[in-house]
C-alpha cells in the first residue's frame, strides 16, 4: 500500500496484554500538577527496564477535575495488576506526595482495584485521617504545606501495551519531522500514552541477545549502520534513520486509533516506509495489521 510517496508495509504491530490505570493529579496551579505528573512518569519508558510504562495523558481543567483545581491525568501500565499497585505506591509516594499542593485520585472505574492511599497513609505516622464519602474512601495525610489527599483505592483494568509504528526515513531530519508530527497528533487522543522521550524511541529492541544476561537487545534489522552486516536487515539502501513510536492504551481500540492517526500524520516527504515492530506473532496477544488500520487507502 502506498500513500503519496510513502509505502505502508504489509505487516503488523505485536501488542501485549497489560494492566493500566489512570491517575489524576491536581494542585493549586497547573504548573505544580504538571511538575508532579512529569516526575511520576519519569523513568517509565519500558517495563523491561523500568518495571512500568507511564506517560501524561492530558491536562484537566479545574471545572472537570475532582477537587475543582487544575490537574493532569497520567496513565501507568505494568504486566499485572499487583505490579501496577506497587508502582503506584512507589511513584505517588515519591513524586506526587512530595510535590507541593498536590492531591491524587483514581481516574478509572473498573472491577479491580489496588490499595494505594491505604498504604501511603502510614507516612502520616498515626496523624492520618480517613474520610468516607459516597462509599469512596480517601486519606488526608498531614504534610508540611497542609494535607496530601489521596484515594484509598485506584482502579486497574486490562489494557494494551506495545502498539507501535516504525518511521523509516531517508534522512534523520525527515524521520524526526515525521515523528514529531505523529506524536503531536497522537497526543490529542484520550486513553493512550507514548511512554518514550517526547513520544519517540530510537533504540528499538528485539527479543534476546548473544549475551545471556540480557532479555532484549538492539533491533539490528532496523539499524542503518548494520545494513551491510545484519543478515536480518529490513532497510533499503536509501533509508538512513528509523524512529519508533510506542503506544500503550487502556483498550485496543484506543491503541489502533492512535496508530492510524500516527501513520497518517507521519506521511511526509522523505519518509519512504512506515512499518511496525513485531516478534513474528508468537509473543503478543494482539496483532494490529497496518493495512487494516487504513482501509480507505487500499
Amino acid at each position: 500500500m502506498k500513500i503519496k510517496a510513502t509505502e505502508i508495509v504489509d505487516t503488523f504491530a505485536e501488542a501485549f496484554k497489560m494492566y493500566g490505570t489512570r491517575v489524576i493529579i491536581t494542585a493549586e496551579t497547573k504548573a505544580w500538577a504538571m511538575a508532579a505528573a512529569q516526575s511520576i512518569t519519569g523513568f517509565a519508558t519500558s517495563v523491561i527496564g523500568c518495571k512500568c510504562e507511564a506517560g501524561i495523558e492530558q491536562e484537566i481543567s479545574a471545572d472537570s477535575s475532582p477537587d475543582g483545581r487544575p490537574g493532569v491525568s497520567v496513565l501507568l501500565f505494568a504486566m499485572d495488576a499487583d505490579s501496577v499497585g506497587k508502582r503506584l505506591v512507589e511513584r505517588i509516594g515519591q513524586c506526587v506526595m512530595t510535590c507541593p499542593t498536590t492531591a491524587c485520585y483514581s481516574g478509572l472505574k473498573s472491577e479491580h482495584s489496588v490499595n494505594v492511599g491505604g498504604q501511603l497513609r502510614y507516612f502520616g505516622d498515626g496523624f492520618q485521617i480517613s474520610k468516607l464519602l459516597n462509599d469512596k474512601r480517601h486519606w488526608r495525610i498531614p504534610v508540611m504545606d497542609g494535607e496530601f489527599v489521596i484515594d484509598d483505592q485506584f482502579h486497574v483494568q486490562e489494557s494494551v501495551g506495545g502498539g507501535n509504528i516504525l518511521i523509516l526515513g531517508k534522512t534523520q531530519k525527515a524521520a524526526l519531522n515525521a515523528a514529531n508530527a505523529a506524536v503531536k497528533a497522537m497526543r490529542q487522543l484520550p486513553d493512550i500514552i507514548l511512554p518514550f522521550p517526547n513520544g519517540v524511541v530510537r533504540s528499538g529492541s528485539k527479543v534476546g541477545s548473544r549475551y545471556k544476561s540480557l532479555i532484549a537487545s538492539t533491533n539490528d534489522a532496523y539499524c542503518p549502520t548494520l545494513r551491510s552486516v545484519s543478515k536480518k536487515t529490513e532497510l533499503d539502501k536509501d533509508i538512513n534513520c528509523v524512529l519508533e513510536i510506542v503506544i500503550d492504551g487502556l483498550n485496543l481500540e484506543a491503541v489502533e486509533t492512535a496508530m492510524r492517526v500516527g501513520i497518517e500524520s507521519a506521511i511526509k516527504p522523505g519518509i519512504k516506509q512506515i512499518s511496525a515492530g513485531n516478534y513474528g506473532g508468537g509473543l503478543g496477544q494482539y496483532q494490529i495489521q497496518l493495512h487494516e488500520l487504513l482501509p480507505q487507502a487500499q
Binding site: T26, P66, D67, G68, R69, A103, I129, K131, L132, L133, N134, H138, R140, G146, E147, V149
Partner: protein, 270 residues
C-alpha cells in the same frame, strides 16, 4: 409506583409505627399491610385504623398527611425508600442500615439515632439528638448520611462514630458532643460547646463557633478534602457559599480532655 399511605384519622396520642418500613412491608398485600400492628398510646391497633393503603408494594413508601405524632417510622430499614409529604415524629430512621427517607417537612427529635447506613434528607428543620446514640449507648451513628436543609437543635451527632451529618441552617448546643469520628457540617450558626469531649472526627462550620478552652489552634489553610464534601452537598440541594470551596479555614484540634484527635474547621473567608 410506590405504596401510598394516606392518613385518614389523626392519632390522639403518639402512634408507634415502626412497622412502616419497606422491610416489614415486603411480600405483604395491601390488606396485610393495613393489618400490621401499631401502638396508639398503650393500645395495640391496626395500621389501617389510621391509614388508607393503595398503590404497589415495590419497596417504596409514600406517606401523605401530617404524621408528626408517628414514631419510629423507618426503624431498622435496610432498603427501599420512604417519602413523607409533611412532618414526622420522633425516632425516624432509628438504626436504619440502608435505603432513603425523604421528609418534605420537619423531623422531630432523635432523627436517625444509631443509624448504620442509608440516607435521610429533611427539607425542613430537625429536632434534638440528630444521628445520636441513645442515652447509655457508647456509639451513635455508625454510617450513612443525614442531610437537614433547615436547622437542628442540641446534641447533633452525639457519640457518632462514622457517617455524615450536614445542616444547611443553624445548630444548637453541644454539636458533636463526645463524637468518636465522622463528619458534621453546619452552614449556619453554631450553639455553645461545639465538639465537647470529641475524640476524633471533623466538625466543619461556615461560621466561627465559640471554641472551648480545651481546643487548640493549629493553623489556617485550605483543606482540599472539603471540596469533595461541599460539591456533594451542593448536588444534594444545599445552598453553600461557592467561595468556601476556594477559601481558607482555621483548624482547631481537640478535645484535649479526650484523645485530642478531633478537629473543628471553620471558614475564614477567601
Amino acid at each position: 409506583m410506590a405504596l401510598i399511605l394516606k392518613l385518614h384519622t389523626q392519632p390522639d396520642v403518639p402512634l408507634e409505627a415502626d412497622c412502616i418500613c419497606p422491610d416489614k412491608f415486603a411480600q405483604l398485600s395491601l390488606q396485610q399491610v393495613e393489618q400490621l400492628p401499631v401502638f396508639h398510646g398503650n393500645r395495640q391497633v391496626a395500621l389501617g385504623d389510621f391509614f388508607h393503603c393503595s398503590g404497589d408494594n415495590d419497596g417504596h413508601i409514600q406517606i401523605e398527611g401530617d404524621i408528626s405524632k408517628l414514631k419510629h417510622i423507618g426503624s431498622m430499614m435496610s432498603f427501599g425508600s420512604i417519602r413523607i409529604s409533611g412532618s414526622v415524629g420522633v425516632h425516624t430512621g432509628a438504626a436504619m442500615s440502608g435505603g432513603e427517607i425523604i421528609i418534605e417537612g420537619d423531623a422531630d427529635d432523635w432523627l436517625g439515632p444509631e443509624m448504620l447506613g442509608g440516607r435521610i434528607v429533611v427539607k425542613g428543620n430537625a429536632g434534638h439528638m440528630v444521628g445520636s446514640g441513645y442515652r447509655g449507648s457508647t456509639v451513635g451513628m455508625q454510617g450513612g448520611e443525614i442531610l437537614v436543609l433547615g436547622n437542628v437543635k442540641n446534641e447533633t451527632g452525639h457519640v457518632m462514630r462514622r457517617g455524615l451529618i450536614a445542616v444547611n441552617g443553624n445548630a444548637g448546643d453541644f454539636t458533636g458532643v463526645n463524637m468518636l469520628a465522622g463528619n458534621i457540617f453546619v452552614f449556619g450558626e453554631m450553639g455553645i460547646r461545639t465538639g465537647a469531649g470529641m475524640k476524633r472526627g471533623s466538625i466543619v462550620s461556615q461560621t466561627e463557633p465559640q471554641m472551648l478552652p480545651t481546643f487548640s489552634y493549629a493553623c489556617r489553610y485550605r483543606p482540599v478534602f472539603l471540596t469533595h464534601y461541599l460539591s456533594y452537598l451542593v448536588e444534594s440541594g444545599f445552598s453553600i457559599d461557592p467561595d468556601m470551596t476556594r477559601g481558607e479555614f482555621e483548624r482547631w484540634c481537640g478535645d484535649s480532655v479526650e484523645l485530642n484527635r478531633g478537629e473543628i474547621l471553620f471558614y475564614t473567608g477567601k
